[in-house]
């Protein structure tokens, strides 16, 4: 409290007088009725209106669970919980402590799934001792997350949910943050390698690069795989 506010606080009834002044001011203000929708009221530029998840015209959810909104929300009122795109496991935003578990449940209810969700609890058990060694070698440092995830995938063949949870617990990074990282890079995967992956193992490009190069060569009228041939015929 600085000197001025201290002195003001000594005047009795000042607070009440201030409050009443505001009330009286509002009371005698002209009343306004905006004839919406004929007249649209001015909305502050930062207003995002009512938050809603929208579908595009093909019927797929526009939200791609990037958690940007939850990350940006200053009071953490945005929580997203739901199944991942393959319907296999839960993702949600929030700290990994018990409070997070409660929010997870509430998210389940809101997305209309039973609690506890069978899809959520029946993950194959994995032996996490190898992971603990990996985490130890990276000093449990969340800034090394990509390297931790790559090492985990190298050890298990994929990123099991139980492993992601353990990484979250041990590094203190939020589960959703880790999921956001893991789901962005195309070399990281959440399920054991499928036949498609194995067939692609001889390929050195990411699948989207391979199809781009093939389509490019087709459009140019070149045979695929001509790359690397000298330009001088």
């Amino acid at each position: 409290m600085n000197d001025e506010t201290f002195l003001m606080s000594l005047i009795p009834g000042l607070g009440i007088a201030k409050g009443m002044a505001l009330t009286l001011h509002r009371f005698f203000e002209p009343k306004v009725t905006i004839k919406y929708p004929e007249v649209t009221s001015e909305i502050i530029p930062k207003s995002r209106g009512r938050l809603q998840l929208l579908y595009d015209e093909w019927g797929s959810l526009k939200c791609e669970t990037c958690f940007q909104c939850a990350q940006a929300c200053p009071i953490e009122c945005i929580d997203m919980g739901g199944m991942d795109t393959r319907g296999r496991f839960h993702v949600h935003w929030g700290p990994p402590e018990t409070y997070g578990e409660r929010r997870e449940e509430s998210a389940l209810r809101r997305s209309g799934r039973p609690v506890p969700d069978p899809a959520f609890v029946t993950f194959a058990a994995v032996d996490l001792s190898g992971l603990d060694a990996i985490l130890e070698s990276f000093d449990h440092d969340p800034a090394q997350m990509l390297l931790i995830l790559e090492a985990t995938q190298a050890a298990y063949g994929y990123l099991p949910v139980a492993a992601l949870k353990r990484i979250s617990e041990k590094t203190g990074a939020w589960y959703a943050m880790i999921y956001g990282t893991a789901s962005f890079y195309s070399h990281l995967r959440f399920e054991p390698a499928q036949a498609v992956h194995q067939a692609a193992a001889v390929d050195v490009h990411r699948p989207s690069e391979t199809s781009y190069l093939t389509a490019l060569d087709a459009a140019l009228g070149r045979d695929a795989g001509q790359l690397g041939q000298p330009a001088r015929a």
Partner: protein, 445 residues
């Protein structure tokens, strides 16, 4: 490691041959490219490697080193052509407990192997250039980010860094300067966007690879919040040459507004090749380095800049290969890729391939990126199928302008180039009346 794990993939084996260039063209980047063993430090030192670092530390000092780079006029080779010295000065001007220097060797364009060729053929040039940059800005940690798939690049750099450290060119108290420069290779993989500098820094921090709003630029607030200089590997490889031969010698090469040379990958119907080309060389002369077109074929267009490049007509063959001239023509220097398109190619299909790739690689962070590029790809697809709507011309124009105006990062802005340049120069090819009749059974895309 299990089969199919990306990390266990074999290296990207394709190596593109170097094309013969006129003897009068300077060899700034590929001067040591013919070395028998590019990771042999003694041989490289005999050829002048680390002379630049020695001169920067012993004779010039940090401030004069930056001044030398400034007067050479060196511009960034990563695509945007930003003056290198200005970036370094910004990083120096900001009070910070630490600074970082990062070499961007990711090479995002899958069809362009210029950076990778340089990294394999002369790893010491990048190590030395990055060491000079780190010394000049006062960074004690430096990273070379490369594609993890390129295991040969990773190995060559690891060897080069190890040898340079052993010889005292890196590590604690570099050449008695009192400054430390610890360097390491950081293999990254899994997204096209990793080439963009803010995304690359996110990956180095172990985060989801989505770009950040700029400003603040990485030189102001980059890796772990510290001032960070990110330079393309070709930019850095030119630095030792400039310090060794003087800024004036460099400024005399290439184009007065953007001196020096760049690596270009030509992709022609006859094959591929890489060449070191002085900036300002007319496009036609660059293309003449490669194979001539198959008999009976004529030149239809030139795609300059990679997947987000612009399509230029044969009339643009005398456009000088510089940042400004290419942008004015509706293309950009980009990855250094130049694709020769002959008259067999359906340009609308080509634009479709490029736009779809750009759209599918967009990160999803902003609306122009997530939805804008997708709508643009759909619009081109309608044209490919001969099903364009009457409003599509105006819609495409507006959409492209809106994407450019509201984009978060350069990727969305550039992703509009194939379409806008196609419409600008090849409007008749895009006219639906000239398209083949859509097959009756085909559902609209």
């Amino acid at each position: 490691m299990t089969p199919g794990s990306w990390a266990s993939r074999p290296e990207r084996k394709e190596m593109v041959e170097l094309l013969a260039t006129p003897a009068a063209w300077p060899a700034i980047l590929l001067g040591r490219a013919q070395a028998a063993d590019p990771t042999d430090l003694d041989a490289a030192v005999r050829d002048g490697a680390f002379d630049g670092l020695r001169r920067a530390i012993r004779d010039l000092g940090a401030t004069a080193t930056i001044a030398e780079i400034a007067s050479s006029g060196l511009r960034g080779r990563g695509g945007a052509g930003y003056p290198a010295a200005e970036k370094w000065r910004t990083a120096v001007s900001i009070e910070a407990p630490r600074r970082y220097a990062v070499a961007n060797g990711y090479g995002a364009d899958p069809a362009c192997h210029t950076d990778r060729t340089l990294l394999v053929r002369d790893p010491f040039a990048i190590v030395e250039g990055l060491a000079i940059a780190a010394f000049a800005i006062g960074a004690s940690e430096a990273f070379i980010a490369v594609r993890a798939e390129d295991t040969d690049v990773v190995a060559a750099l690891a060897t080069a860094i190890g040898e340079a450290t052993e010889a005292g060119f890196l590590g604690p108290d570099v050449l008695g300067s009192g400054r430390d420069v610890f360097m390491s290779v950081r293999p990254v993989q899994g997204a096209y966007m990793l080439g963009e500098e803010t995304v690359l820094l996110k990956a180095l921090e172990g985060k989801r690879g989505q770009p950040e709003q700029r400003p603040p630029y990485p030189a102001q607030r980059g890796l772990l919040g510290m001032p960070t200089v990110v330079n393309n590997v070709q930019t850095l490889a030119a630095v030792p040459w400039i310090i060794r031969n003087g800024a004036a010698a460099f400024a005399a090469t290439g184009d007065p507004a953007s001196p020096g040379t760049v690596l270009v990958q030509l992709r022609t119907p006859g094959g591929d090749g890489i060449a070191e080309v002085p900036l300002g060389t007319p496009l036609g002369e660059v293309i003449a380095l490669g194979a001539s077109l198959p008999a009976g074929r004529s030149l239809q267009a030139i795609l300059v800049g990679g997947p987000s490049g612009g399509l230029l007509p044969p009339a643009a063959l005398d456009t000088p290969y510089t940042f400004a001239a290419l942008r004015a023509a509706g293309a950009h220097l980009g990855s250094g890729s130049i694709v020769v398109v002959d008259d067999r190619t359906d340009l609308v299909e080509l634009v479709g391939v490029l736009t779809r790739f750009c759209s599918s690689e967009a990160c999803g962070k902003s609306i122009p990126c997530r939805i804008g590029t997708k709508r643009l790809a759909e619009l081109v697809a309608r044209r490919e199928d001969g099903l364009a709507r009457p409003t599509d011309d105006v819609l495409g124009q507006d959409l492209a302008a809106d994407i450019v105006a509201s984009a978060l990062c350069d990727h969305e802005r550039l992703a509009t180039l194939p379409y806008t340049s196609g419409m600008r120069y090849f409007a008749s090819a895009f006219d639906c009346a000239s398209r083949p009749e859509p097959a009756a059974t085909e559902a609209p895309r």
